[in-house]
Structure formats: structure tokens, C-alpha cells
């Protein structure tokens, strides 16, 4: 059963499978294992980012398409929920309508961009997506009556998903059974489902054609495959999943703004996560997203502790000062690319074959 759920594409080597299992178990039990607002928040973000990174890997890793508009689709999903919830008031109908609307807009936009640019060379696709994404960012900040501009939108969700809602008045392992817990599991299980769908897709005949196109698109054409059709479908699917990840983020944060969904920084983070995890392996997105989000959220603390420990050593304590966390993050990235040029999962898989 597990094998068919994973579409026959298990993580690979035992060590790798063990690490992935550990990550999944930690995420599944995060509210109980690591109670506390901040750690649960980190776990929820990891779930969402895994989906976002996996959907980007479908484009970059499996199909060989470079897009800079992935955060735009992510943002469209989030803004769908945000706009619907703030204009219609909290409710499941607003959530469903906003989410569905966001997904539809993302799909339509992805289709138009792909149709207009994938017929020509891949580099044009990258540039066009960059242009469209920038224009979209400007549009969102200009249409502040609808989008809240640079401030973004804060809105309320159905009561069931708020901390004030308690569905049982006892505590389970010391954790309050409230709406926050419900929204965490809504996000966790949605993320698992979306990930498994993507895993199924890349291991299907369709996914094999995508890989063939990435390897040698002329050859795929000479076998009779219309590569443009496949590329368009891949970019639409990827956009839809990104928009769904945006919906999840909007549910979790109850806030949507340009910085959390549309920024170019986030786009680059996604790229980095795909590369660290391993391009062309869905499991890479699990590791890439987990490592990156953890590093971003906790590197400062680790360094603060390290700096305090080494307070006697003059130079070392300065180097380890928490303010230098970005430097260390950069160093971590360079080292990981140096030692795992094909990503962590790519490295593991290569040595098995």
C-alpha cells in the first residue's frame, strides 16, 4: 500500500529513507513534540514550503524550465483567500470561493504565459516570467483598495480554525485541542496529499516524457511527442499546486502581503531549496525545504549560543555573532552545492546505482 502511495518512488537508500521518515514524523506530530507557537509555526511553514518547492521542482528539475513567476502563483492563491475572506467576512464559503478563484486565475495565467513563450526558447520563458511577476508585484501594490497594497490584508477565518475554538475541553499530552491545532493538521494533510499527487505525476508516463524533454527535447520530438503541449501542462499544474500552497499559507497566517508571498527573495529561496535538496527528485524538496526553513528560523539562536560559549575567544565569538547569521547561511549553501552538486537526494541516489 505504501509503495503504491509513493508511486514506487521511495526515497532510496536506507539512510535517506530514515531521514525523510524522521522529518515526516516530526512534522506529523509537531504540535505534540514541539509545543509552542514558534515551533508549530515553523513546522506549518515547512509543510507549505515543501509543497511550493516540490511544485517548482516539477518545472525546474523534471521539465528543465526556469520560471521566476512561481511566487506569483503562490501569491495568487494566498490573495484569493485573503481578498474573499476580507470582503465576504469569515466563512467556509469565502475560503472555498477565494481558494478556487485563486487557483483558477493562476491556472489561466500560467496557461497564457506558457502558450505565449514556451514555443520559443526556454530563456525567453524565464525572462517573460520575470517580467510578468514584477508587473504583478507592482499591480498588487497599486491596487491597494483591493489588496491592501504594501501592508497586505489581515482577515478572519471560520471560527473552527481560530485559537478561540476548542473542540474538546481536555488537553491531549498537554496540548490544547483548539482551532489552531485543526488548522495545523489541515495544512499538514493537504501538504501530504499535494506532495503525493506530484510524486504520482512525475512517476507517471507523463512525468517520463517531461524528463525526456529535459534531457533532449529534439529527441523527444523525433519520437513523436509534442513537447510544447507537455511543457504547457507541466507549467499549469505547477502553478495550480503553487496556488494551493498559497491558499494554505493564507489559512495559516491569516495575513497575506507582498513580502510573505510575492517577493523576489522568496523566489530565490525556492530556487536554493530545490538545488540543495536535489533537482529532479521530489524527495529533495522535503529535505531542501526543511533544512532551509530550519536554518533561516533557528540559525540565529544556534549562533547566539555558540557565540556565548566562545565568549573567551576574541575573534571566534565575533565571527559567531548572531548578526552574522546570513553570512553563515550563505556559507552553508556554498558548501552544500560544493559537496552535493546534484543535491542531497541526488548524491544519495547516485551512489546507489
Amino acid at each position: 500500500m505504501i509503495k503504491s502511495l509513493l508511486s514506487g518512488d521511495a526515497p532510496g537508500k536506507p539512510l535517506l529513507a530514515l531521514i525523510v521518515c524522521a522529518v515526516v514524523i516530526c512534522l506529523a506530530l509537531a504540535p505534540f513534540l514541539f509545543p509552542g507557537t514558534r515551533s508549530v509555526d515553523t513546522a506549518a511553514r515547512i509543510c507549505i514550503i515543501i509543497v511550493l518547492v516540490a511544485s517548482y521542482d516539477l518545472l525546474l528539475g523534471y521539465t528543465g524550465i526556469v520560471s521566476f513567476a512561481h511566487t506569483m502563483f503562490f501569491g495568487i492563491g494566498a490573495y484569493g483567500v485573503a481578498i474573499a475572506s476580507s470582503s465576504m467576512g469569515p466563512g467556509w464559503d469565502a475560503l472555498a470561493l477565494g481558494g478556487a478563484g485563486g487557483v483558477l486565475v493562476a491556472a489561466a495565467l500560467a496557461f497564457v504565459i506558457a502558450l505565449a513563450s514556451l514555443r520559443v526558447r526556454a530563456i525567453f520563458f524565464a525572462m517573460i516570467t520575470l517580467a510578468v511577476a514584477s508587473a504583478f508585484g507592482v499591480l498588487v501594490s497599486q491596487l491597494y483598495t483591493i489588496t491592501g497594497g504594501e501592508d497586505g490584508l489581515t482577515y478572519r477565518l471560520p471560527q473552527m480554525l481560530t485559537p478561540a475554538f476548542e473542540f474538546a475541553d481536555f488537553r491531549l499530552f498537554g496540548v490544547r485541542l483548539d482551532g489552531r491545532l485543526l488548522s495545523y493538521y489541515l495544512i499538514f494533510f493537504s501538504a501530504v496529499a499535494l506532495f503525493l499527487v506530484l510524486l504520482r505525476l512525475v512517476n507517471s508516463p507523463f512525468g517520463r516524457v517531461l524528463q525526456a524533454i529535459r534531457e533532449n527535447d529534439f529527441r523527444a520530438e523525433a519520437l513523436g511527442y509534442k513537447t510544447v503541449h507537455y511543457r504547457i501542462v507541466a507549467s499549469v499544474v505547477s502553478a495550480v499546486v503553487a496556488a494551493l500552497a498559497g491558499v494554505l499559507l493564507a489559512i495559516w497566517l491569516r495575513y497575506t502581503g507582498p513580502d510573505t508571498t510575492l517577493s523576489l527573495d522568496l523566489m530565490i529561496d525556492i530556487l536554493v531549496m530545490v538545488v540543495i535538496g536535489g533537482m529532479g527528485t521530489m524527495w529533495g524538496s522535503v529535505l531542501g525545504a526543511t533544512i532551509f526553513v530550519m536554518a533561516k528560523n533557528y540559525l540565529r539562536e544556534v549562533m547566539g549560543a555558540a557565540s556565548a560559549l566562545t565568549s573567551d575567544l576574541p575573534l571566534v565569538t565575533d565571527i559567531l555573532h548572531p548578526d552574522r547569521w546570513l553570512f553563515w547561511l550563505g556559507l552553508l549553501f556554498i558548501l552544500s552545492v560544493y559537496f552535493f552538486p546534484t543535491g542531497i537526494v541526488g548524491k544519495f541516489r547516485r551512489s546507489t546505482q
Partner: protein, 245 residues
Amino acid sequence: MGETGETLLSLSGVHTHIGQYHILHGVDLEVPRGQLTMLLGRNGAGKTTTMRTIMGLWQARQGAVRFAGEDIARLATPDIARRGIAYVPENMGIFGTLTVEENMVLAARRSGLNAERLDWIYSLFPAMRKFWRWPAGQLSGGQKQMLAISRAIIEPAELLLVDEPTKGLAPTIIDALAEAIMALKQTGVTILMVEQNFALARRVGDTVAVMDDGKIIHTGTMAELGADTALQGRLLGLDIGGGTA
């Protein structure tokens, strides 16, 4: 299926440009059904460009490419492939990160893998069975070439284009390849093949066309060219005795 010997593919007055370069200067070529036509000529004569033009990977600027009576010169590559032309390019173009099996499944686009046909391919190339689950990128050069040919014949094609299959291969492997090509001919498939190795070309070819400077400068039977060393010397610049193996 038509009669053996009638023209299956014909190029007339084909001009192909690659960027600013004018590569084919009016190629006229006829490929008879059920035979193996060798396309010979020195490097840069335009042999590969001719193959790619037939396949639609370069568009002919002038001229007609007729396949089974239909002009295919303006069709897109996938549509040409779907009309029954299979192509084994010079660089083989295998999908290296996919397994041998996956490469074959992709090639069997219309009807999926056919067990009988697969057995036949295993008999031509036993290595395919052995390395069935290997990533194709890890095969040796000869095995990759066998995979490239297997991929082209897993579905019955009417015309097989093979571009320099022996390039960079060891002599024993070339022998095995020649055997396979002879066996393939027995099935009645029409083949157009580019080859630098004249010994092999003489062994497997039925008819021959020689190119130079983007034109066909000689056509005839392989037997005739094989017997006429003076003609070989003039057309191909070969030494007496049939060239190098």
C-alpha cells in the same frame, strides 16, 4: 505497404539554411522502399543536415520532401515522427537519467511495449535485456547505440534514419551492429543511413548516394560503387582496397 523498389522518400531541390549558413544546395535524393540506402560523403558535406531536414528539425527553405506521396517539408517534427519515420541521431540522443526500460517505454508511444517485438530486439541486442533496469547514461558507447536503435525500432516504422551508428565504436561492436542491421533489413523496413565506415557501408548497403558541398554528386547501387575503386577514389577519396574499417 507498397511495392519494394518504388520510392518511399524523395527529396527534390531541397535547400536548408542553418542560421546564416546555406548548407544544402538543392538536394535530390530518392530512397527506394524496402532497401538500405547509404548516404556517404566527407565531413561537412551535409549528410546530417539532410537527415535533420527530413525529420523537420531544420526546416527546408525551398524544395519538397515527399514521404509516401505526401509533402512533409513543412510539418513539425512530432507529426513527421507520427507518420512512421524513426530517427537515430548521430549523438544517439538517449535520455541518460532514465532507465533503459523507460527509454523504451517512451519510444513505444503508440501502443506500449510489445513483448514479441521486445524479444526480437533482445535477440538483436542481448545487452538490452541485461541492462534493462540500468540508467541509460551509464551504458557504454556501443550499448547506447544499441539502445538508440532499439528505441527506433520498438514500434514498426516505415522508414528508419540512422546517422553514423558506428562512430567511436570498437570493431567487434561494429560487427555486431552490422549483423543487427542486416537482420533489420530482413524485416522489410526501409533504411537511410549515414556512414563514414566504407567497409560497413559496402557490406550492408543496397543503394548509395554520395554528397559533397550540400549536393548529391552520385547515385547508384552499392555493388557498382563497391567494385569500382577508381570511382571510390574520385567520390570518397578512398585508398584502393575499400578503405579503413
